[in-house]
């Protein structure tokens, strides 16, 4: 039988490369754990770097589809790339499995029977913190996000369950390095908590500066995609105790997850972040679906039905797909902590949502 070809479309250069690396390493670890085979077929993984440029991604995707003739496209990290790559992939009737990006339009109006996400819809992690802020009775919350689409979505997600007062909705330019003036504002406004979304290096800076300004002990710091395993090595002790929302954490107590985390750390000398977990699950998903079709990919409907079943043991526990191809899963409040071996990771504090679908699924027209 011919090798199964899988294209990984990930951001592997520039400041955000670390996110793509986690996803790539997670996927490749899964392939290795499955003995180099998915659904019984030998696998060839083609990795391409989207350079975080949507138009570059479109051409590279065409290369994957037509030159490499991949059976699945797995990726990407960023929503703008996801949206740009969506059309050529689903037009060619190839299955597209996101390992992070979950933009609302792909979950809603523009949903496609060829698109699945092993991650989440973008808003959901933020919703976790909105719910937590509401439940804990915070009266005044300060919101802070970079001024781009994902930043606006994040704050919108937070506000879905938070009904208290928002003392300030502050947007900083993307790639802001120095938050000193924001911190001054926060200190002077004295909110009950702040919520922020600062992925990548911005998050490192913000957390260190927040701690440095002495705010960390006074005003709770709630965030998503800000304090995670890609940033913790740089944030170090400054992040300890800070709260995030997630669908998973490395310390989650189930055997396959323990094995995964240990294997990942051994292979890549880093604690895996959720990007790695999503990618690992994506490989498990493909494996399970191909087992069901007997390794065949030609019959798209059969393959889709097999994928939909999500008949695999997700590292995060409960996992099933909604009608729009996005997961229905549990969400947790997590906290950054230091492990006995000195490494930092996020750890589950409590479950916030159980079997939680995303808010856009009802706009999706796919019914089967």
């Amino acid at each position: 039988q011919e090798k199964l070809k899988i294209g990984l479309l990930l951001t592997l250069s520039g400041p955000s490369a670390v996110l793509g690396q986690h996803a790539r390493d997670g996927f490749q670890l899964a392939v290795k754990d499955l003995g180099g085979k998915l659904g019984g077929r030998d696998v060839e993984v083609v990795v391409v770097d989207d350079e975080l440029k949507p138009d570059v991604a479109v051409t590279k995707v065409k290369g994957l589809l037509e030159r490499d003739k991949v059976d699945f496209v797995v990726g990407p990290i960023f929503s703008n790339v996801a949206v740009a790559a969506h059309k050529p992939i689903v037009d060619s009737k190839t299955f597209y499995i996101s390992v992070n990006a979950g933009p609302s339009n792909l979950a809603g109006k523009s949903c496609s029977p060829y698109f699945f996400a092993t991650s989440y819809q973008n808003d959901q992690n933020h919703e976790v913190l909105g719910k937590v802020a509401q439940d804990r009775g915070y009266k005044k919350v300060y919101l802070l996000a970079p001024n781009y689409q994902a930043g606006k979505d994040a704050l919108a997600g937070f506000k879905r369950h938070y009904k208290g007062e928002i003392v300030e909705e502050s947007y900083v330019p993307l790639n802001t390095l120095d938050f000193q003036s924001e911190l001054a504002k926060i200190a002077s406004m004295q909110p009950d908590a702040i919520f922020t979304f600062m992925p990548g290096g911005m998050g490192v800076n913000l957390v260190k500066q927040y701690r440095g300004a002495g705010l960390a002990d006074r005003i709770p710091f709630l965030s998503a995609f800000t304090v995670d395993e890609t940033n913790l090595p740089a944030q170090q002790d400054a992040a300890i105790g800070m709260l995030s929302g997630s669908n998973w954490a490395p310390n989650m107590d189930n055997p396959q997850n323990k094995k995964f985390v240990a294997a990942y750390e051994a292979a890549y000398n880093a604690v895996p972040a959720s990007y790695a977990m999503h990618a690992y699950d994506a490989a498990l998903l493909i494996d399970s679906a191909l087992k069901a079709t007997g390794g065949k990919t030609e019959d798209k409907d059969a393959l889709r039905a097999a994928i939909k079943k999500a008949d695999f043991n997700s590292l995060r526990g409960d996992f099933k797909f909604g009608a729009n191809g996005f997961p229905i899963q549990d969400f947790y409040l997590v906290k950054a902590a230091k492990r006995p071996d000195g490494k930092l990771e996020t750890e589950v504090v409590e479950k916030v949502f159980d079997d939680y679908p995303d808010a856009y699924a009802k706009e999706c027209a796919i019914t089967n």
Partner: protein, 343 residues
């Protein structure tokens, strides 16, 4: 008068005529490429890649027109990419999907932006010009990023490629390829004619010594501004094409890094020859596309781990290639070809 120095101007015309074949060869290659593409088994990919090459070639050539002939180094040329692309995207999202309307709107918008920002920018010179053009492009970039109705930072997907007089034939990759080739060729001929014309001579003179041009009675500003507008329109056209090629529009089209890349393409190809910029764009994009594979193939003797790390970090090879080209191939690729045809 020494006879020797007179001789030195003699070889120039013959070398020039030999090099006249180059643009013909370039366009001939673009013309036959689709036939090869269909036999490659990945025609959509090959066409998409080459269409990109031509689109960037068009933008780079338009930049060469102001940079190589007018010494106006614009570090904001990607803004026109954005204007062209957003003209298509915004109109399409309002249901106006025909290129017959989209393209003129894009050209008009590009011309307007070029005229306004050009008139201000041309007050400055040299590096100041570089930076003020960057400033205007950045403003436009941030503006586009804040257009929530049109996808903001995430950009917007086109429902389909532009119609042409109601017909959807551009949906065929060959048709888009052909249309792009036609645009590139047309723009090339217009540019070629401009630089050889009276207007072009004044422009080149201005590049050499603007004060002298004023002292013989020209007003350099008018010539520079006119060229800036023409160049902006060509880049705007490239933006329309890019939107159609990617079927997607995003502020990422006009980051300063993009403007920088356009400059690199022009310098890589060699300044001031027009087709040099096209060749530079091709070299740049094809290297970006294939260097990872080339690196992979060329490092067969290394162990797998190191090899894949090198492949992933292909820019570690790309960087030194650029440096070597500058150090040893003066005048870019065209400089090498020119010397080759001398010796």
């Amino acid at each position: 008068m020494t006879q020797m120095t007179q001789l030195q101007s003699a070889p120039m015309p013959s070398a020039a005529t030999r090099l006249d074949f180059l643009p013909i060869a370039v366009f001939a290659a673009f013309a036959v490429a689709p036939f090869l593409a269909s036999s490659s088994g990945a025609e959509g990919y090959v066409l998409s890649l080459l269409t990109r090459v031509m689109i960037f070639g068009l933008a780079a050539m338009s930049l060469d027109l102001i940079l190589g002939y007018g010494a106006m180094v614009s570090f904001g040329h990607a803004a026109f990419f954005g204007i062209g692309a957003y003209a298509v995207g915004i109109l399409a999202s309002h249901g106006v999907e025909d290129a017959i309307i989209q393209v003129p709107v894009a050209l008009a918008a590009s011309a307007l932006f070029a005229a306004l920002t050009g008139a201000v920018s041309l007050r400055t010179k040299g590096v100041y010009f570089i930076m003020i053009t960057l400033a205007f492009a950045q403003m436009l970039y941030f503006l586009a990023s804040s257009l929530a109705a049109y996808g903001g930072d995430d950009g917007l997907t086109l429902p389909s490629r532009s119609l042409v007089a109601g017909s959807g034939f551009l949906d065929n990759d060959f048709a888009l390829y052909g249309a792009t080739l036609a645009c590139l060729l047309g723009a090339y001929m217009v540019s070629r004619s401009i630089v050889g014309s009276r207007f072009g001579r004044v422009l080149r003179g201005t590049k050499e010594n603007a004060i002298r041009m004023e002292a013989i009675g020209f007003q350099p500003f008018h010539f520079q501004l006119a060229t800036y507008v023409i160049s902006g329109m060509m880049a705007g056209l490239a933006g329309c094409l890019l939107a159609n090629q990617a079927e997607f529009v995003s502020p990422a089209f006009m980051t300063w890094q993009r403007s920088g890349e356009l400059i690199f393409m022009v310098v890589l190809g060699g300044l001031g020859s027009l087709h040099g910029a096209i060749i530079g764009a091709a070299a740049f994009i094809l290297l970006e596309e294939f260097l990872p594979e080339i690196v992979h193939a060329a490092t067969f003797f290394l162990n797998d781990d190191l090899r894949s790390r090198l492949t992933e970090n292909w820019q570690m090879v790309f960087g030194p290639i650029l440096i070597l080209i500058v150090l040893f191939a003066r005048g870019g690729i065209m400089g090498v070809l020119r010397r080759g045809s001398h010796g």
